[in-house]
Symmetry: C2
Subunit: 373 residues, 2 copies
């Protein structure tokens, strides 16, 4: 049986581990490295799906925890699946719900069976387990499903992390056993192990052994220093097979994307571009812009002279500031559009740079203009 | 000197006062009767301007009071005018700020000079007068500017209304005297007179005497019973010249639009379609839909089977309900789009019906499906 999703390696950078590849899915081919906009509740916030496509986004991420609670996965199934429900015909990746249960749910109780929790919306009691997460993701019909894992906090002691990663592996096996239709949807495994490199290695060996079409690196960017994160990431990638897709979860600032690509990561997702947009923040080629700033009151230039997105083609900073100050929805709509376009476009430039053997030059050029992190 | 704006009467209905015409402006010709979407703070809420154009809107209304306070008319002037500032290249009508000073401003003090008030945003003290209103609207560069008037409340005694309408006329003369560039922007007068038909006649004679390109009927739909409003409106229209545009301010429910057109009104505006959209309410060919209703939880049909708007082409009621329940911006975006499209499309049907001598038949057909009001 053919897996729904497969990875194709096109080229590896001559000086770094950066690689240019493709992820083939039932809803189109994704050129990698790729940034995936997040559509938590079956909508990329403040965007029409056509606008997300227009800027070149090839795949979005949606959240199992949120869709399970609202509207309920059975309703999405009855609607004909998530693609149809939300009017998005390109690829979708769904997370497992595990991370949200820990970060949003209340009164969590973890057992070998799964996690009992209360909804952050109405306090109702629920249970998520590997089987339940698969059942939900099967109903959603995403192209890539993530395994139900436990993401250890930072800091956490070695014993805790070791037990946690071993349970994550047992849960991954249960996910794989439950998921039947591998030609329609693919399951990605998640490596854990906290900041302990030997545990990362142990986790990698266990999940890779299950021969899945892709692997995520979980449990990074959870509060640890950036240097530590990058150091651990560097090793994590080495433990993963070259012929499978690699996904670094929840990372989306420009510097982390560059550093992740340089270390061999193919896929990224983050709410950052749309979240900061709603707070009046823009990513531009010359660094972050806080549109609330009084200095933009009479600034009739566009947000980013190097950007050709809808927002930058049509509006001035003075107008964007005005919209934000008036709490107008168009503010979030235009800034979300710009920020997503910025990252999607940046990833396109990164792919081109890898193809042309000038990834490090592009990275350096970008950092010089964008400013220090 | 030629006025910037002129009205062309194409046809009058054979059985009613409904009329088919055109308003020519520096930013295009408007087919009338017309509904004007409202873009209070230089944005039609939750809509990109292209989307407002796409559905066939020919002119929008923007608010002088709001733009004077934020971002300030001088900033809009420096931006190159309101059209450029907000990226809207079709016609714009601005109100005078008078109505908002009364409805939103605090600590109002009316004198012959104008109205002193405090901002509803920061409590700062301001003065609006006929001259100031013209200065602001000149800076905004709208195609149609409204005279600075006093809108009498309902109920109000005869003396109050008489004094008020006479002051409105004196203020109108001051507006006309202040406004110089009549080839760039046109000033419309506003008739007042409350519910007193003889005072309406008196007001009409005074404002018509100033020979402006269009006249608005103010002070209606301010809390009076519908029957009284329609009865007074019926007479008001008779007092206005046939060769000038007629505008009924602040009216936008489907039934009021039909009744207004039947009585000879050419132009309407209202925040209703976008405001109710933000509260999960949709106008459809079979009446109002409250998308919050539990019965839509598993309703995978579109909002209105007779509608071909973007929302109805792509989304189910179940999805729209989900978005509303999750407080997602896309909810307001999609419902605003639908409601505006509904009214703009309805006005197109009304124009066609007048052309084909079946206005009353169309009205009857619409009411039968839409339900009682």
């Amino acid at each position: 049986m053919k897996h729904a999703v497969s990875y194709e390696l096109l080229k590896t950078d001559n000086r770094t581990k950066a690689r240019r590849g493709r992820v083939h899915t039932p809803h189109g081919t994704i050129e990698t490295p790729v940034f995936m906009p997040v559509g938590t509740a079956a909508t990329v916030k403040a965007m029409r799906p056509e606008q997300v496509k227009e800027m070149g986004a090839q795949i979005i991420l949606s959240n199992t925890y949120h869709l399970y609670l609202r509207p309920g996965h059975e309703i999405v199934r009855e609607a004909g699946g998530l693609h149809k429900f939300m009017n998005w015909d390109r690829a979708i990746l769904t997370d497992s719900g595990g991370f949200q249960v820990f970060s949003l749910g209340a009164l969590r109780k973890i057992t070998e069976e799964g996690v009992e929790f209360r909804s952050h919306i109405d306090g109702s009691k629920h249970m998520l387990s590997p089987e339940k997460s698969m059942e939900i993701q099967n109903a959603l019909g995403s192209d890539i499903m993530m395994a139900f894992d436990e993401c250890a906090p930072y800091p956490a002691d070695r014993d805790y992390v070791k037990n946690s990663l071993e349970r994550t592996t047992r849960w991954l096996k249960r996910c794989k056993d439950y998921h039947k239709d591998i030609e329609r949807q693919s399951l990605f495994g998640i490596m854990q192990g906290g900041m302990y490199k030997d545990l990362r290695y142990e986790s990698a060996m266990q999940v890779v052994d299950l021969d899945l079409p892709g692997y995520a690196i979980g449990g990074l960017s959870v509060g640890e220093p950036k240097e530590l994160m990058l150091d651990v990431l560097d090793d994590c990638v080495d433990y993963l097979p070259k012929e499978k897709a690699r996904y670094l979860m929840g990372v989306g600032s420009p510097d982390y994307l560059f550093e992740g690509v340089e270390r061999g990561v193919d896929m990224f997702d983050c709410v950052l571009p749309t979240r900061i947009a709603r707070h009046g923040m823009a990513m531009t080629s010359y660094g972050r812009v806080n549109i609330k700033n009084a200095k933009y009151e009479r600034d009739f230039e566009t947000l980013d002279p190097e950007c050709d997105c809808y927002t930058c083609r049509n509006y001035s900073k003075a107008y964007l500031r005005h919209l934000y100050k008036c709490d107008e929805m168009l503010s979030a709509m235009l800034l979300s559009n710009h920020n997503l376009h910025f990252l999607v476009n940046m990833m396109g430039n990164i792919r081109k740079a890898i193809e042309e053997d000038r990834f490090l030059e592009y990275k350096n050029e970008f950092y010089t203009k964008y400013g220090r992190f």
